[in-house]
Symmetry: D3
Subunit: 159 residues, 6 copies
């Protein structure tokens, strides 16, 4: 049976409401996280992007830039995220004929006191949203799928 | 057979690269968009959130606030989005036992010259990311799924 | 006896949680708000500022610029504030020997669908915080006082 | 008699105007600051908030999130503040029947080269502004009072 | 002889300090501004960029995106600029063998109460800065030149 | 003959597109960069500013504050810049009768893993843009010139 007992509730204040947890005593190490996601669409939209004919121009280049820039805004977007000095942000977009869409992978590194999962996930999300925006004049049924963490190293808990 | 001929390429400059399209001549109307998405997790994580025992505190309340605030940052995050005076942002999070997770719906309105699909999709995405952040100490396999537009009214093309 | 019955609960969604209220149907009018506040300090600090000898330089000029710029960030700072096209922001700082400190007044105008009280109050607050920052090397007991709305015109309810 | 001679004018350039002081040679230590403030209102407004009937929804939860997020924006809001990697942000709001209002306390930590007084004061201010915003449909005479530093540790000068 | 009498001092408050001028009574019209600038470099750097071999990747594509995004941040960067709903932002970068560098042109439109000169100039500046950043590993003597307004239409004064 | 062989292409991913380079293994040192630029104008405009009669108020003070604040936004504006904890930002504006305009110098320091050239150049650019904005009601032919790096210390490559 599942153990539902709470893990250490370090983020809870007396009243149960949200607080940004204290990471002062955590050690500064190189930490890395990799997240992935997918954007799926109609074949016609996919072909138009692959042929470089998308109405808004360079879909994948614009989406990558947006994802990289968004990673740097993570602590402004996610209320309880700690601001961190990111040392690397890489976004890779890979077309997939079978998926009829794109795989997005973001890899983020820091040398800091807490991990960069949210930065990698935010980079994937905003890359996907921008890909959507660049393609939405062609189709209104594009879907963003399967955003998740695939790797995490450098802290106490790995994946 | 599918028609792959490009739709009107209003966003392309001479060199094919990305530009923010001119909406000056579009009419100002009330425009609304609704987007949805899902966050799925292990049963133990879901129960812990539902019982109000998540380590970082009020998961759903924090996620909603983050989604609403993110909608207002859409044109800063998505390179070719037009800044718009949003008149309403609503985020609803609904638990689903069968899904073992949450449905997120964002409804955004403007009275402007272009639609608010990206604002609704951004609200859903950041609500999901924040829900993830609030729960990630409990589980590293949470997944964000099925972010898509479900309704769009007020412009030339509806959904 | 006081009437504690709630005013119109237009901001409440079904679950009682926070939402950005719909102002789509409100009319666009010129709206203005004036807010005030005070910063009080030791006589020595006050004299040093008045003589232009504050360690960080031009205290009042820097504080005014900060207040004006902050008014434009109001909808990013206050979760449920609507973004508005501000048409005027004025910050006035007046020294007061008796107070041993400064009166701050911010006047903000828009031509929009909702009022600018929060923009005026935010301008006063950040002007006060910056004044504090510019003077804090001289004294650690500076206090920000009495931030409130003094006038509001152009919407349905005035003050 | 008071000594009005200026303290060390490290922030002054040749022309007397504002500059962001050089902290390169200061040591990296754990630094903490605690600031407080108050928001006062009519009894009817206070009761309506306490009973959970405020028109805009969860007043205190929303205000806390806003305060935490604002602390992370301090160096963007206050012109001469140094950007710092905050390691903890905690906002506590306590109701006070006698005050007819709320006490706000913010505690901020960093491991950096300069203190976090302004971050704590900014967190208090924006928590107070958001509380105001969430309650302003009920009353236009809410007042923000007594924002000040109550504790500062970790640097050369303590309080 | 030059007439040095001041033009209408609408931006001055009583104390001569900076204020964001009131544009409430100005009419909403379509306004456009075009600004230009140049980035000059060594022949070797120019060739490396033109051949697509710059170390940081797609120099011109990244610079254009950055310029477009910066135009939307103008009122956050320039203290007394009014926030405006931009309806078009176009950045064109043209290589020039003789110049040994690039011409940048930004065209910005709004339908608002004041002009978009600063938005166009900001787009040019940040496009140039990004081009610099993308190329700076190759050379430290790149120079940004001749940023100026070349056209302005739609308001009272044209160029 | 010039060597056009590419320098180390550390910023390139497999597909040649832009990525934020990994600086994790670079050492944390005190790094400083100095950049300069000019703003030139008509004699009448220059005199009006020098006499303190510019329509928008304190031109040079406002421009300096804007430049300092912009340096802190560099990593948000320039897509592939790393966020850095700046330890000093100094902006100096010097009038020059012969130039009929102003020299701007920005000096920025960090203790980090990569240099602050872009921060110094961004500070100069936004100082110049703000000076332009403060003076543009007097003249539409103001020009921003000669923005370049003049010194860089603390990293592997100096200038």
């Amino acid at each position: 049976m599942q153990d539902l007992s709470p893990t250490k509730l370090s983020h809870l204040d007396e009243t149960g409401s949200a607080q940004m947890v204290d990471v002062s005593s955590k050690s500064v190490t190189v930490r890395e996280a990799i997240a992935t996601g997918q954007v799926t669409m109609k074949k016609s939209t996919f072909i138009q992007i692959e042929e470089g004919n998308a109405p808004k121009g360079d879909v994948l280049g614009t989406a990558k830039i947006a994802g990289i820039m968004a990673a740097k805004q993570t602590s402004s977007l996610i209320p309880l995220c700690h601001p961190l000095p990111l040392t690397k942000i890489e976004v890779i977009i890979t077309p997939d004929d079978n998926l009829c869409g794109y795989h997005i992978q973001a890899r983020v590194k820091t040398e800091g006191k807490t991990g960069v999962e949210m930065e990698a996930l935010t980079a994937v999300s905003v890359t996907a949203l921008t890909l959507y925006d660049m393609a939405k004049a062609m189709e209104k049924t594009i879907t963003i799928e399967a955003i998740k963490l695939v790797s995490k190293t450098g802290g106490k808990s790995s994946l």
